[in-house]
């Protein structure tokens, strides 16, 4: 291939690949983004009786005395001190899950409950998921940084 055609070939290849990749990225972003809400934001945005089709994440503090374990199914309430949401989770809770701890639950919102597929508590006892910290700061429930 002489250099002129080579350049043409390279350009076509690059344009094609980038177009393809952009398409893939756009589709993937449309379908696979998971939005994060605090219980209050969720109530404001979707009211009480709406089912949200896509997966969401809800973050906040685990309400004291709200954890009920029934065999492998765990029920607990996440609060941002303004609103609360009941979470139902069937699975192994992370080691750092405890009452009063900031956590994030991911799953489908149905009949006013979050059917969680995953519960995230980060791997540091003093750690607060930043989304939760931000949200709590915003509505004044933040108690300041604990000592680090």
């Amino acid at each position: 291939m002489n250099p002129k055609y080579r350049r043409l070939f390279i350009i076509i290849l690059i344009v094609f690949t980038i177009a393809l990749a952009t398409q893939l990225v756009l589709i993937a972003l449309r379908d696979n983004i998971i939005y994060f809400f605090t219980p209050n934001e969720l109530k404001i945005k979707y009211g009480d009786n709406e089912n949200i089709k896509r997966k969401i994440r809800v973050g906040g503090l685990v309400l004291e005395n709200s954890v009920v374990k029934n065999n492998d199914i765990v029920n607990f309430t996440i609060t941002d001190n303004k609103n609360e949401i009941l979470v139902v989770f069937n699975g192994q809770l992370p080691d750092l899950f405890r009452e009063g701890q900031g956590i994030v639950a991911e799953g489908n919102f149905k009949d006013n409950k979050l059917i969680a597929t995953q519960v995230l508590a980060k791997h540091d006892e003093n750690y607060m998921p930043p989304e939760v910290a931000d949200a709590l700061k915003k509505n004044g429930a933040w108690k300041g940084d604990k000592d680090k």
């Binding site: 291939m1 002489n2 250099p3 080579r6 070939f9 390279i10 290849l13 690059i14 690949t17 980038i18 990749a21 893939l24 990225v25 589709i27 993937a28 972003l29 379908d31 696979n32 983004i33 998971i34 939005y35 994060f36 809400f37 994440r57 374990k69 065999n71 492998d72 699975g91 192994q92 080691d95 750092l96 980060k122 791997h123 540091d124 006892e125 998921p129 930043p130 989304e131 931000d134 680090k148």
Partner: protein, 650 residues
């Protein structure tokens, strides 16, 4: 007193690096051998100073000197020795000190290379020292590891128990060797821009550095993933977590560079592209280091941060990435490439496509990693991007690369006709069709499982055939077993081994992703349950005391076909110092798969909640990565032999 000595040596290294940079800028125009020698000695001095400083910090951790802030925050006198030592880099300040130690060692290593042209070497050492200087400033002004506390605690707070693990003790050093190794190829590129000269020797000399850092990165990433698999207790091994991505992006760029540098070495074309990739590779390393360190993205790895660090980080990034990119824009046009012609079906085209796909793949990962940040900054919406995004973008882009990977070794350079090509494609297609068919007959198989498994098989056949073709082409008769190794070292099989690693890795993914079986339920002592064809019996439950934790341990006996296979002992550990709990999964690794058992809550009345998995071929994932790293290392040594031979000839 002793920590202060460490601090002083760190300051001395900083001062000496500033002096060297001044000297370097002053002498760049009229370089003489004396100036080069002075700079070389300076590099040695930096390296020694930092080594002393690092040793003193390690010593403080070993003797548990709690008057140091980071020791009292990250160590404990009862901690096992290995974790006292690894505690040195298990925190922000210490890990940066390790970073500069590796950087200065690499710089010293380069300065010992006699083959490198003097002008180029002078520029390389200058650039390396500049990076070192920036990092030393960052450590000294924002993250001093030798900071004292006013009231000395009697006992430290301990290291995060999750990090007390042999896999993780060596994960950061390995990763850092990879990151920092890429600084050498970066400096080679900047050096070429400064001196304005590039030739085949340049490509030959840069390649081993890329190989070695690529290997280290591969191992580092694999160690991290292995740790996540057995320590986090849900059996996953890769989560597309931002921090994982941060180490994966430099790896992708380094992979692209490792391939494109071959064209440069052979044909002296794509000079600018290689220089750009070298700069990008280290830029992504910096981005990787800082994404983790700045707390910009959150994850297991993020440490507490303060805003002054963020600004400093930004300055370092601008100087060390922006500078070279401007230099590149100004000077890259000086490199004249020879008019080389090549076929559409040639190694050049194949390597070019490889590069195109690898950089595109990097871009998709970059978008997935940074998009949530941008969206947060622009609209305040909080989102997260999970594995689904990457499965939909990264995987399809990688598929053609794997297809190409099996064929590319059979293509010729330039315009030569490839003799075996049609035969090989026929062979690959035929065997892969058989593989696809057999995969489809397995229970629970899906279309993606078939694609993934077939790709693995396709590549495997390609690699093996290439190996035999190579052996045949040497036209040597293998008489003794010992001579096999001689031939192998002659033909160079680093590439084959690395590609074989990819095939093994893909097989591992196929097994783990698509054929996993899971059991969960409540079991009491004496109960039995099946997972696949394996029978597990809950034998007993006991409480134990470890060196710095208390443990609850269950014992399971594993039988297969009524034969005793082994014991599985999952634990729940409680670390009183850190007030935290960890789950230690029990794993019985086999060639065909792992049996993985996790102990949950419970008591002897209602039983314990038990989760068990059978993960087929999962250990192939890390064996694959190991083979890739080994391949990189082999090509590092093969290359050494080749350059030595060349020198002897001339």
């Amino acid at each position: 007193m002793i920590p202060e000595i460490g601090h002083i040596f760190l300051i001395l290294a900083f001062v000496s690096s500033i002096m060297q940079i001044t000297y370097w800028t002053y002498n760049t125009k009229n370089l003489n051998l004396l100036a080069l020698d002075i700079l070389k000695n300076g590099v040695l001095i930096n390296c020694l100073f930092i080594l002393i400083s690092f040793s003193i910090l390690t010593y403080s951790f070993v003797v548990s000197d709690f008057s140091l802030l980071i020791v009292s925050n990250n160590s404990h006198s009862l901690k096992p020795m290995l974790y006292k030592i690894s505690g040195t880099w298990g925190n922000h300040e210490g890990s940066l000190l390790l970073w500069v130690l590796i950087l200065s060692s690499f710089t010293f290593w380069v300065s010992k290379k006699k083959q490198i042209n003097n002008n180029l070497l002078f520029s390389i050492l200058g650039v390396q020292t500049l990076i070192l200087c920036l990092f030393l400033a960052f450590i000294l002004f924002t993250s001093n590891p030798f900071e004292r506390v006013e009231t000395i605690a009697l006992e430290g707070r301990g290291l995060n128990p999750l990090l007390q693990d042999p896999g993780l003790a060596f994960h950061p050093p390995m990763l850092y060797i990879g990151y920092v190794g890429l600084s050498v190829s970066f400096s080679f590129a900047v050096g070429a821009l400064i001196t304005g000269k590039i030739n085949k020797e340049w490509a030959q000399q840069i390649r081993p550095w890329i190989s070695i850092s690529w290997s280290a990165l591969t191992l580092g990433i694999a160690l991290g993933s292995w740790w996540a698999y057995y320590e986090l207790g849900w059996g996953g091994w890769w989560f597309w977590d931002p921090v994982e991505n941060a180490s994966f992006m430099p790896w992708l760029i380094a992979t692209a560079l490792l391939h494109s540098i071959r064209i440069l070495e052979k044909r002296l074309i794509f000079v600018n592209w290689c220089i750009l990739l070298s700069i990008l590779g280290f830029s992504f390393s910096l981005l990787g280091t800082f994404i983790v360190r700045s707390g910009l993205l959150t994850s297991v790895h993020s440490f507490a941060t303060d805003p002054s660090r963020g600004v400093f980080i930004l300055i370092i990034m601008i100087i060390s990435i922006g500078g070279p990119l401007i230099l590149y824009a100004l000077k890259s046009s000086i490199f004249k490439e020879p008019k080389v012609q090549f076929n559409l079906l040639s190694k050049e085209s194949a390597l070019l496509i490889n590069n195109l796909f690898f950089t595109t793949a990097t871009a998709t990962v970059l978008i997935g990693t940074l998009y949530p940040l941008f969206l947060d900054a622009l609209s305040g919406a909080k989102i997260s991007i999970g594995p689904a995004y990457y499965n939909a973008t990264f995987a399809p882009i990688m598929t053609p690369i794997i297809l190409l990977m099996a064929i590319a070794p059979f293509l010729n350079w330039g315009k030569g006709k490839s003799k075996n090509l049609l035969k090989i494609i026929a062979l690959l297609t035929l065997t892969s069709l058989i593989a696809a068919f057999s995969l489809s007959t397995i229970n629970g198989s899906s279309i993606f499982a078939i694609i993934c498994g077939t790709l693995s098989f396709w590549l495997f056949v390609g690699v093996i055939s290439d190996f035999f073709v190579k052996i045949k082409e040497t036209k040597l008769k293998i008489t003794k077993m010992g001579s096999i190794f001689l031939y192998i070292s002659k033909i160079g099989i680093g590439m084959n081994v690395a590609h074989l690693g990819v095939a093994i890795f893909l097989a591992g993914i196929t097994g783990e992703q698509f054929f996993k079986t899971e059991f969960s339920g409540r079991k009491n002592i004496g109960d039995t349950f099946y997972i696949e064809d394996k029978l597990l019996e809950f034998k007993n439950f006991q409480t134990l005391k470890g060196p710095n934790y208390q443990s609850e341990m269950a014992t399971f006996t594993l039988y297969q076909n009524n034969k005793f296979i082994g014991y599985l002992k999952p634990e729940k550990r409680f670390y009183p110092t850190e007030q935290s709990q960890t789950t230690e999964a029990a794993i019985l690794t086999g060639f065909w798969g792992d049996t993985y058992v996790v102990l949950g809550d419970g008591d002897n009345q209602s039983g314990w909640s038990i989760r068990a998995y059978f993960n087929p071929l999962v250990s192939w994932i890390w064996s694959g990565a190991f083979f890739m790293a080994l391949g990189g290392l082999l090509s590092f040594f093969e290359h050494k032999n080749i350059t030595k031979k060349n020198i002897r000839l001339t």
